[in-house]
Amino acid sequence: MAELQFREALRDAMTEEMERDDTVFLMGEEVAEYDGAYKVSQGMLDQFGPERIIDTPISESGFTGLGIGAAIMGLRPIIEFMTWNFTFVAFDQIVSNAAKVRYMSGGQARVPIVMRGGNGGAGQLGATHSNSVEAFYSNVPGLKIIAPSNPDDAKGLLKAAIRDDDPVLFLESELMFGLKGEVSDDEDYVLPIGKARIAREGDDVTIVAHSKSYWLAMEAAEELAKQGVEATVIDPRTIRPFDTGAVIDSVKQTNRLVIVDESQPFGGIASEIGFQIQQACFDHLDAPIERVTAKDVPAPYAKNLIEAWMPSVDDTIAAAKRTLYM
């Protein structure tokens, strides 16, 4: 096991896949000459050259469309977005083309593309640069959405995403690129898409949280343990297809569910998980399902306000206690 930063794990995954398969290439703003806005692709230009590590103009709609076309024609592009906020100008390409070409062509064309970049709030970036897009895109059948919380999952799942024959949206976080963690040394480390990880086991309450929120959930779980409450923490890792079964199994044990989700509450990931679980586990629930999300307003800029807006450890503890009538 090597300890790697999240960005290094991503780089290793891309590098290994590019070495393995010469149809894989990386394209995005500043991925080549500048080594990536967040240094994810550092050194890759030197290794693979400008034909496979391609700098683009600031034109998400253009290079996303280019990537989708390349994928249809048989290549396996990795598109890096500086952040997912900027995909809204490429929304039509992602929703109308990437997600639907295989369906509308009756399976004649496939779109084996990976789009990746930073997602969600990352400090004082203002309302337009703090979006969490998992709810938007997971609303679209035809897209797979992955949002890992640690370098090990990032590597194993990015390799799986690159090999997948369908469009995969890979959500990272600017705040987590420097996060260090042990990463498997396995020669070809690929994790299954759509499989949750049980990070912690407890009998009292189940907490589901992905990406950055996972760390809030773990901290809340440790704090709850000091108060005698043992939480199971589930990191779904993949948002769609969602591993509902893992959550169902856990909720049947704990009878309580808290979902921590940085997206907006209305129609968010937490809403969807909450719906599925109440339907599958109705007779097992001892309390209403709780969710901890961003507040239902655009992200504020001021430091104190953005902190209040984001889900927090305290919010998570309070939600867990509500499910326990504490």
């Binding site: 009878n255 109705f282 007779d283 097992h284 629930l285 001892d286 309390a287 009538y325 504490m326």
Partner: protein, 503 residues
């Protein structure tokens, strides 16, 4: 532009507010933040602030009027501005309109009883605005107010008195009133349904426990997993909810202030002062179940005087025998329990339950007699099972043991569930006779009065005798007059000739 001032929601549970006093005159200039009136909510009397600058053009409601949240209280605007369209917007589509929509019959009925003028539509609104209802007028007289609106939209709540058979005749859909509809209208939905988490509901069902008998410790008395667990483990009273910080009043727009005596509202529903006791879960359960019983089971009452001379002698003989054998002494109540149990076996219609949900009247196999026992904070009804098959000493011992633990709150829920008949005895307090409310799902309850010395005529001579009055409350859905009378006659016969119990 005219600005509407509406009745704000000043507390979590507020549904309507009483405008206690106006603090600003019509025509006065007001600024945002000024207090223009005082409003009494279900919790406190609070200041009503305006959020805009302007002239108070119209005070729409009178002092003492109760109006629902969202109803128009006042209109602000520029001097001389016409407010009639704004007011009629509220009048036409607001409270008065909703009354007509919800239950056409209610306003008409209210009209006959209360209203000095028509209550329909804009005519009524205009009337109210031109001549604000005097504060002494009943609530129902104010079209914008909570009276008729409350009665119609929350018939179960405030309109209980109006939920007579006649009222059901006016159901908008013209359907026949069913018992469940009647119960729905008669008691608020909240009081009707036992709140329980889905898990608790399933666990109780699996354990064969009646949810209604379990005291919930969750919000609003919700029965949750831990309550069912402790019920299964045997504590009758669930543990108190874990200490929770007192709920801060949610987002009160303005500070509460003490009620001003000079502005005491004529229509104040309950006088403030005295001591408020929190409604315990047991009291809630009593309230819910007994209200449900009284409002859904049509009660009728049969009263009989029982000569107890023979029973007095019979009991003395029994107890002399019991004492020598170390058996429990038999009380009059035990004799009555036994007599009832034996009679129940002979009168299956009395030993029955009206189970509407299942579409059946269930005649029970065993005669399980519950006995009402007073507790410090309420009462509970432990059950002597198969009392018809038990000897008097055994009934005496069981009853004493159950009652003792009942008073300590240590009964297992299974020990106070599953009765088929109930008795309630207030004789020890010298009560001569009374009527009791049926303990659902029983069909009948027997109210037992004191044994008194009475003059009786025996062979033409007045001699001293002993008598007791029994009153049987019957659920007419199950038991008809003759059936109840036959049962009560049997009980009377067995008490007057106790050896009949042994036949």
């Amino acid at each position: 532009m005219a600005i509407a001032v509406e009745m704000p929601k000043m507390s979590d549970t507020m549904e309507e507010g009483v405008l206690v006093a106006w603090l600003a005159e019509e025509g006065a200039s007001v600024s945002a933040g000024d207090v223009i009136a005082q409003v009494e909510t279900d919790k406190a009397t609070m200041d009503l602030e305006v959020y805009d600058d302007g002239v108070l053009l119209k005070r729409v409601v009178g002092e003492g009027d109760s109006v629902p949240i969202g109803a128009l209280i006042a209109v602000l605007g520029d001097e001389g501005e016409d407010v009639s369209s704004l007011v009629s917007d509220y009048g036409g589509d607001g409270a008065a309109g909703s009354v007509a929509d919800v239950e056409p019959a209610a306003p008409a009925q209210q009209e006959n009883e209360l209203a000095p003028a028509g209550l329909e539509g804009k005519a009524a609104t205009a009337q109210a605005i031109d001549a604000p209802a005097p504060s002494a007028q009943p609530l129902g007289g104010n079209p914008a107010g909570g009276g008729p609106a409350g009665g119609a939209s929350r018939a179960g709540d405030t309109g209980a008195a109006g939920t007579t058979a006649e009222g059901y005749g006016h159901r908008p859909d013209g359907s026949e009133p069913t018992a469940s509809a009647a119960s729905g209208a008669a008691a608020p939905a909240d009081g009707e349904r036992v709140k329980a988490s889905p898990l608790a509901r399933r666990m109780a069902e699996e354990a064969g426990l009646d949810l209604a008998q379990i005291i919930g410790s969750g919000p609003d008395g919700r029965v949750v997993k831990r309550d069912v667990e402790s019920a299964v483990e045997g504590g009758a009273a669930a543990p108190p909810a874990p200490a929770r910080p007192a709920q801060a009043p949610a987002a009160q727009p303005v500070r509460p202030s003490a009620p001003k005596t000079e502005a005491a509202p004529a229509a104040s529903p309950v006088e403030a002062g005295g001591q408020d006791l929190r409604i315990t879960q047991m009291r809630k359960a009593i309230a819910r179940r007994l209200a449900q019983s009284k409002f859904t089971a049509p009660h009728f009452y049969l009263t009989v005087d029982v000569r107890m001379d023979a029973a007095v002698g019979f009991r003395a003989d029994l107890n002399a025998l019991a004492e020598g054998r170390g058996l429990a002494k038999v009380s009059y109540n035990d004799l009555i329990t036994k007599a009832c149990a034996v009679a129940l076996g002979r009168h299956p219609m009395v030993n029955a339950s009206y189970l509407e949900d299942e579409g059946v009247i269930r005649q029970h196999q065993g005669a399980h007699v519950a006995i009402a026992v007073a507790m410090p904070e309420g009462l509970i009804t432990p059950v002597v099972r198969d009392a018809d098959r038990k000897g008097l000493s055994q009934i005496a011992a069981e009853t004493r043991e159950l009652a003792g633990r009942a008073r300590e709150g240590k009964l297992d829920p299974s020990e106070y569930a599953g009765s088929t008949f109930t008795t309630s005895n207030l004789g020890m307090f010298g009560i001569a006779e009374f009527t009791a409310i049926i303990n659902p799902p029983n069909a009948c309850i027997l109210a037992i009065g004191a044994i008194k010395d009475v003059p009786v005529v025996d062979d033409g001579a007045v001699v001293a005798g002993k008598a007791m009055t029994l009153t049987l409350s019957c659920d007419h859905r199950v038991v008809d007059g003759a059936a109840g009378a036959a049962f009560l006659g049997d009980v009377q016969g067995m008490l007057e000739t106790p050896s009949l119990m042994l036949l």
